[in-house]
Symmetry: C2
Subunit: 557 residues, 2 copies
């Protein structure tokens, strides 16, 4: 068997173009590029072109993922490279990694093999500081809120109802639930609170959905920092904090330009949680990619039931654009898991499990079709896949009239994805329309949720807890019924039960809580338990990391 | 009266040189400069020249400061500009500002008037991300420690003795004392802990004293993260976390190159607390400044009793260098306060109070003389000073044989400091020796403390609390007697009582606690109460901040 190099080894061997040259070749005025070292740059928002001069958007999504990961980012990067390889100018737009998981389990999140964005060490570590700026802005607001309460609480915030929490870009379970403000009257007011991971901050979602600095400030102003004793929301604007927050985010709002291993330009910017937020890179990065490419290749979080649905209903709606094609990533091993095979037993051929698992893929294809956008399936190749397995997936799709190609972009880079690139380009070239939302934004929030669980998940219906019903009433009273819904659900199943793989039927979804993300501009519907601050594993990835004597990074596998 | 522009107005009108050009003119190979935007760059440690090729160091310190501030950074920047104005090539080395105080009371910390480092908005906000990297490294270690305890606590850390705390670069009193790890068995082990501000992190001191990456890793490895049930220190190295921390600090260790309003190069890098740490910019920045200037002009924290003493005994010792001259900043208004005048009543002439206050200055001059380095007094001019007052300070110094000049660098930039520059250059030119430490590093810690309080503060002696005496024993047992001492004392008085201004006599110093900063390489002696997490004031500076429509920052006065 071939001995493969690790991601970091491949990345460190890459021959990168200086970012000023990369930008110049794309047609970006070098004077407006702000270099961060020689291979990263921030691009000001003014560089986004008007809609009529922008290219088309290709959205990469997947079936319900398995704990091993399906390589969606790898396919996104690889497809961008492959499009350029077939002579179609493409620019990639990706989320930027969170440091917490990097130090915990994942080690890195820049794609993999020969389809990575580079310099991967920088992108995986502090990059251009966007997440740190969000952490600063978020926690500055928390300190301002607590200082307000400490100094008389003129806004009548009720600490028993919870106020604005804090965030850190660290996996730290000890901070999930804390009591702060202890130590006596000089040290604040004692109250229960906690920390989320930075990517779960509403400010991350705000930054990713803001259309310019004025919109950023409006969204920050609207964020709810708590409730007063009459139950009315109190906002960041009531505290007059939006100016300082916007100032702290002044650089972070600008998309980051880097490149892939094959010098395809990539905007890597923003990375909100894919459960309590919408899970896509920033609007600005996607528009920027479309401004300088015939195609912008971008991805959404988790599977199509969460990521693609939110891309259509939240991100595309906020950005006023539509994808022209969707690439749905499937893997033989995930399909076998959906067909009942155990997750540590996926290396041998099992056509029966595969066949059964295909109904998970089938459901997602139906969903994309419901949005009215052409779909192409990418079978992301893994070493243990057999030809019979791969062929069965391809024929299953093609029999339904869905173009399907294997993607060997991990092993071969762009050259391993040319068939996929041709199919995706053909689909996008042929589509000049706009997607069809699955609900009208004017219908009540509870009906929007019902539409999603029935049309996208295949559920029979939805039940609301008493708390959620109360919040539906608050939403009505506050005049927020027109906001879109952001579903927080397990990514592993179409249902709200992570153990129900494949295509579960005859189930209902329970919404136990609703939260208003007024700045982000959506209502979060929480189903099942949602973790917003991860913990570290038994052996954290950090233990293997190091700086070598020559200054190179080690351990970011 | 002249109408003066605000600092940010002056800064925004400055004509900056592109940093690549600035570096090139200094003789730094552009290929090794890492630009952060067009006016900031990181310079790798390899660019430090061998000692024999480096220029001389001029240290700027002050008398005991008052709450209004004496303009020490302004004089440091102005002196750098003035040296260049008289044809002597000087490079400035300064601490980088902390975001917490910027959002709280101070608004900014880059010097002032026509003696500022720029771009001041960037430097005051996230700059090149150094403080964020330290926050990340510090809190990653905290998460690793808590995860270790959560997963069985093999190292037998005793949580009752306190373990590694967390930091944020925010003024947030609510986080000083918290209980973390609440919520049940999946969420860590409940324990009392808290947050310090990032500049109080031992990692900040480590970064500022590290002589290269190998030394950085050694220092990180030695940091004490807690004590086991037998009372033995447990270190970061026991947890094998130093590699990950060093990786997170890989960029942060490199000094940041910016410039002053008059295009004098300035390295702005590192900024440890001046009480529980040594309060100076990084060793690397100072060496870098000396590598590219005939003179490196640098400052230390607070007054000479704390800042200069620590510069000599901690920083210069770690760096193997000596300042060739000390510039001691005095102001008429501070001298009048030391002479008994109230702090809100300093605008009218009072030669009597001034005369009395001069003994504070006198004590600091004696201290610098004890170190055996030439001293020059800079009388930093303020609008309300009268000629009679200024003349009295100058004659007082000159009568003692100490060169003294006014510094009008706030109002006139370098042109307002040429006489000072000539005096400082003359003093430094004439001195080819090495300072004389006030204690031999081989004497016990308690004797080092006694030497400092007697020789530098003028105290009669020192008393140790029972807790401190126990720690002296631990220090002996652990073989750490040779470490230097880092005094944590009020900056406002030579004594440990902030209300005793002027030159107090007949007092003793009480050391209530000793802490081992094993990584930084010093023993912290705490006297009085020391605040390591500030709070926000009634009206935080953040409330005035904003981003204007043209993208410029507002409210960073």
């Amino acid at each position: 068997m071939t001995a493969y190099k690790s991601d970091i080894e491949i990345a460190q061997e890459a021959v990168l173009k200086p970012v000023m040259q990369l930008g110049k070749e794309m047609g970006i005025d070098p004077d407006i590029l702000e270099p961060y070292g020689h291979f990263k740059a921030k691009v000001p928002l003014e560089a986004v072109k008007p809609e009529e001069e922008r290219g088309k958007i290709i959205l990469v999504t997947s079936l319900n993922p398995t704990p091993a990961g399906e390589g969606k980012s790898t396919v996104t990067v690889g497809l961008g490279q492959a499009l350029n390889a077939i002579g179609r100018k493409a620019v990639v737009a990706l989320r930027e990694p969170s440091l917490g998981p990097t130090m915990g389990l994942k080690g890195g999140a820049c794609g993999g093999g020969k389809s990575q964005v580079v310099p991967m060490e920088d992108i995986n570590l502090h990059f251009t500081g966007d997440l740190h700026a969000i952490t600063s802005a978020h926690n500055t607001l928390a300190a301002l809120v607590d200082n307000h309460i400490h100094r008389g609480n003129e806004l009548d915030l009720d600490i028993r109802k919870g106020t604005w929490k804090r965030v850190l870009d660290i996996n730290d379970r000890s901070l999930r639930n804390i009591v702060a403000g202890l130590g006596g009257r000089l040290h604040g007011v004692p109250h229960e609170t906690g920390f989320d991971i930075t990517v779960a901050s509403e400010i991350m979602a705000v930054l990713c959905l803001a259309d310019g600095v004025a919109d950023l400030k409006d969204r920050l102003r609207r964020m709810i920092i708590g409730y007063n004793s009459s139950g009315k929301p109190v906002t960041c604007g009531d505290l007059k904090a939006e100016g300082a927050l916007a100032l702290l985010l002044r650089e972070a709002v600008k998309p980051n330009l880097v490149q892939t291993l094959e010098n395809t330009p990539a905007f890597v910017h923003g990375g909100p949680f894919a459960n309590i937020a919408h899970g896509c890179n920033s609007l600005a990065a996607t528009k920027m990619a479309a401004s300088y490419g015939e195609f912008a290749v971008t991805e959404s979080g988790f599977g199509a039931d969460l990521g693609a649905e939110k891309f259509f209903h939240i991100k595309a709606e906020a950005g006023g654009f539509s994808p022209s094609a969707v690439v749905l990533v499937a893997t033989v091993r995930a399909l076998k898991m959906h067909g009942g095979r155990a997750k540590d037993d996926l290396k041998t051929e099992d056509l029966e499990a595969l066949e059964k698992g295909l109904e998970n893929l089938e459901k997602h294809l139906e969903t994309i079709h419901a949005f009215g956008v052409p779909v192409v399936v990418a079978v992301n190749a893994f070493v243990h896949d057999t030809k019979a397995e791969t062929d069965r997936v391809l024929s299953f799709c093609r029999d339904k009239g869905v173009p399907a190609e294997t993607a060997e972009v991990w092993e071969h880079g762009g050259a391993g994805g040319t068939a996929l690139a041709k199919a995706a380009a053909k689909a996008a070239d042929a589509f000049d329309g706009y997607h069809t939302p699955l609900y009208d934004k004017k219908i009540p929030v509870k009906d929007k949720i019902r539409r999603i669980v029935q049309e996208v998940y295949g559920a029979e219906g939805v039940d609301f807890s008493k708390e959620a019903r109360n919040m539906l009433e608050t939403i009505r009273q506050e005049g927020l019924e027109e906001l879109p819904v952001c579903m927080a659900k397990t990514q592993y199943s179409l249902s709200d039960d992570p153990s129900k793989l494949g295509r579960p039927r005859g189930f209902r979804i329970t919404v136990r809580e609703l939260r208003i993300s007024r700045g982000a501009g959506f209502i979060v519907a929480l189903t099942g338990s949602v973790m917003t601050m991860p913990g570290l594993p038994e052996k954290p990835a950090a233990m293997e990391m190091d700086v070598l004597d020559d200054g190179r990074a080690a351990g970011l596998f």
